[in-house]
Point group: C2
Chain length 452, copies 2
């Protein structure tokens, strides 16, 4: 990829990476029941937060985070510290001119670090924070929001973002490029539509485990009033409760509302099929994370069993890399791809997954919530619509109304739709005051909590 | 599981866990080409090494390690430090009386730490070191080598070791127990046989990448003289070299010798099939790690393509947990199960994998080499033979002649067979002098290396 602003006094790719700072930032969300589900009863929404600096002298920094839920964030910080030496001193041009090769080298090119995954777990979370910080930097230098930076690339440039290793039995670079080529003439129309209407969202804020029925009813009504038509609730702790809660939400949202249910990996294959069958009268669109995220064949078996009931299978928030996605998609194990912006190795692997999902005709409905995920994934879906899938049918982005106040450019929802981000970068830059107050364990908020 | 020595003044399960120390220990093996393969050109064989202490007053400590290859060992150390608070203060009885539940609680019971995997990557490596240290402690207290401690358990006790979550579509506890029950009457005969002959080994020391042809020939002859009949070489860097080297080894070991080849994840699915087909004239028993360890369906496709050539598919050293094993076995994606003692969550998950492999009739040939893996996995295979599979056909344990001098009770090979370990524990206790000299970066060896 050539630098595209050589006429300026300083081009996009001038300069080198000179610093990488990490902050362990944690929000004490476990004190409410917000965010509680069948497997994660008490999350403290947290992040290993990276700030990359250069010697360009323009004051721009690349910010990136990976989402965690409290304890263990310090292990991801250690992972990022292990990656730092690979990055410091690298010319920015090495990334901007060959982003796919650069990221592959960064994330799996060090054979000693690769052993710790490969491409999964703590090191993959660490890779995500670092890679996404580089993209934030690039987008800020380019003066564009991430989705627009990506959507302005040629098909050849997009294909170059991907680490193609292990994918050729499902999709080759040439096939991907031909598919992208066909959509170039209509990109502008879809971009204009997005700018006018936004991208559909669904809300997960109505049905966390532990919410009493009347709170769920109230939240459904508030969400309907705000323009939402798609609602997700948590299930998997108690079957009778789930049947009652699902019916209650269906009653509130009416026959045309969309209901989704999420078990957060609670079941074995057989019990998943039985439990979801009991919920079928409430007509859920999908069952999310019915079982272990590693169980590709298990998801396929569940998907086959639930297809006659009109219920799809969704997963993704714990899918670590493009190789697992390739299989979930090829085996028809998922009817919805819930890619995560931090679980995989950042933007590049997100693009790989969008290309694979388009290849298999599976709609992408990214995982969001937590802290920063809404800000992140809107870029994935908007880029997907403009340049990759060109589809909106059965697609929406998760939305959870949590912690947005900590971001300089928080996502904006209007009439149940994410509005197009306009600020340069990935939108993940956190307010300095929040980073300081919630840094763990030394920030003012934690000093207070830990003292009591 | 009930304590079985209540008549003694102190029972096996008295006392509580009072300390957990971690050492980052690294051997500068990258200075030779020993251990080099297509994906790991310069490993420094290393370990995050755990020492668990109690208040029993008998001076016994539990030692455990997880194998790494240099940089990033400090990230695993951070992972172990994150697990420490879950362990300190726990009564030993909680582990010994319900080992399966205890380990499941330790490794995935903390929902905040679970997010970092789940059950994969750095946290799973950390879990392995900790869990295996607990087993070392138990075996030392019981005065038995690990394989014997396990082989003396009743089928019901063995079944209790396993975290059965996500397995029931392939194997239930009842099915496993019935299968174990059938072998109880003949256990003693197999144990006697093992004590006399040992367990077959194969050697990986003859054909690391980078060895010149005449060195390979010499090493083959030395290994034949030492009683080995099974040989593995590394492939995947250059096809012509591989064809020549495989033919050369076949010539040295004769038509009755067993040849295995190992690509260390070098290929995509299609290229794997083509490359291995070119090596078919040398009649390899298996191709190991032909592609990404995450690619279950890819391994299945390769296995189907190579079956007519009489070449099996093997993998395992980077398989993170029992859920992935369940699928590799059920999908006939592997003809050999190369389970790893440190990649999964320790002894308990090793037992789960042995039960699954027996269920699907797939022989187990554990991954060894590195540092300490030979010492570890001999216990898995010997327990497997006595109590789980009762088979030796097409089974052998990898052997690499590296770094054994650092262990108090190193494994013993005679006439190409692992001899039955007799010392109490898991055999992983490292000499104090080695731990000190090779600790990174403060040990004397590293001080010297880092100064130059």
């Amino acid at each position: 990829m050539k630098p595209r602003s050589e006429s300026k006094s300083q081009s996009e790719s001038d300069g080198a990476i000179t610093s990488l700072r990490v902050v362990d930032v944690r929000f004490p969300t476990s004190r409410q029941l917000d965010g509680s589900d069948a497997m994660n009863p008490d999350p403290d929404y947290s992040a290993a937060y990276v700030i990359v600096g250069t010697d360009r002298g323009d004051g721009l920094e690349g910010h990136g985070l990976t989402f965690t839920i409290g304890r263990g964030t310090e292990v991801v910080v250690a992972g990022i510290n292990a990656i730092r030496p690979l990055l410091l001193g690298q010319p920015l041009a090495a990334f901007i001119e060959a982003p796919g090769a650069f990221v592959a080298q960064l994330t799996t090119g060090d054979s000693q670090l690769r052993w710790l995954g490969p491409e999964k777990g703590v090191m993959q979370l660490a890779n995500a924070a670092v890679v996404n910080a580089l993209w934030d930097l690039w987008a800020k230098i380019a003066g564009k929001p991430l989705w627009k930076l990506l959507a302005d690339m040629s098909p050849a440039q997009i294909v170059e973002l991907v680490d193609w290793r292990y994918l050729s039995d499902a999709l080759t670079p040439d096939e991907a490029r031909r598919s992208l080529d066909r959509l170039v003439p209509t990109r502008a129309a879809r971009e204009a539509e997005l700018r006018e209407v936004g991208y559909p969202a669904y809300t997960t804020s109505v049905g966390w485990l532990g919410y009493p029925d009347d709170k769920i009813r109230r939240l459904c009504r508030e969400a309907l009033d705000a323009g939402f038509t798609r609602f997700k609730i948590k299930v998997g702790a108690n079957r009778d409760d789930d049947v009652r809660r699902a019916a209650l939400v269906r009653q509130e949202i009416g026959p045309d509302g969309v209901l989704m249910i999420d078990a957060n990996q609670r079941w074995d294959v057989g019990p998943a099929i039985e439990w979801v069958t009991a919920l079928a009268p409430s007509k859920p669109l999908w069952i999310e994370e019915p079982t272990s995220p590693d169980d590709i064949l298990g998801h396929a078996a569940i998907a086959r069993a639930l297809e006659p009931l009109g219920i799809g299978v969704a997963t993704g928030e714990m899918v670590s890399n493009r190789v697992v996605w390739k299989q979930l998609l090829a085996a028809r194990a998922v009817s919805f791809c819930q890619l995560d912006f931090c679980r995989m190795a950042g933007v590049n692997e997100m693009v790989a997954t969008l290309l694979l999902a388009a290849r298999f005709g599976v709609p992408v409905c990214p995982h969001a919530g937590g802290v920063g995920l809404c800000e992140y994934v809107q870029h994935a879906s908007m880029f997907d619509y403009v340049a990759v899938s060109a589809g909106l049918e059965r697609r929406s982005i998760e939305y959870v109304d949590h912690l947005h106040e900590h971001f300089v450019d928080p996502c904006v929802i209007r009439s149940g739709c994410y509005q197009v981000p306009t600020a340069a970068g990935t939108g993940i830059t956190m307010k300095r005051s929040s980073l300081e107050a919630y840094s763990h364990p030394g920030g003012s908020i934690w000093k207070e909590i830990l003292a009591t």
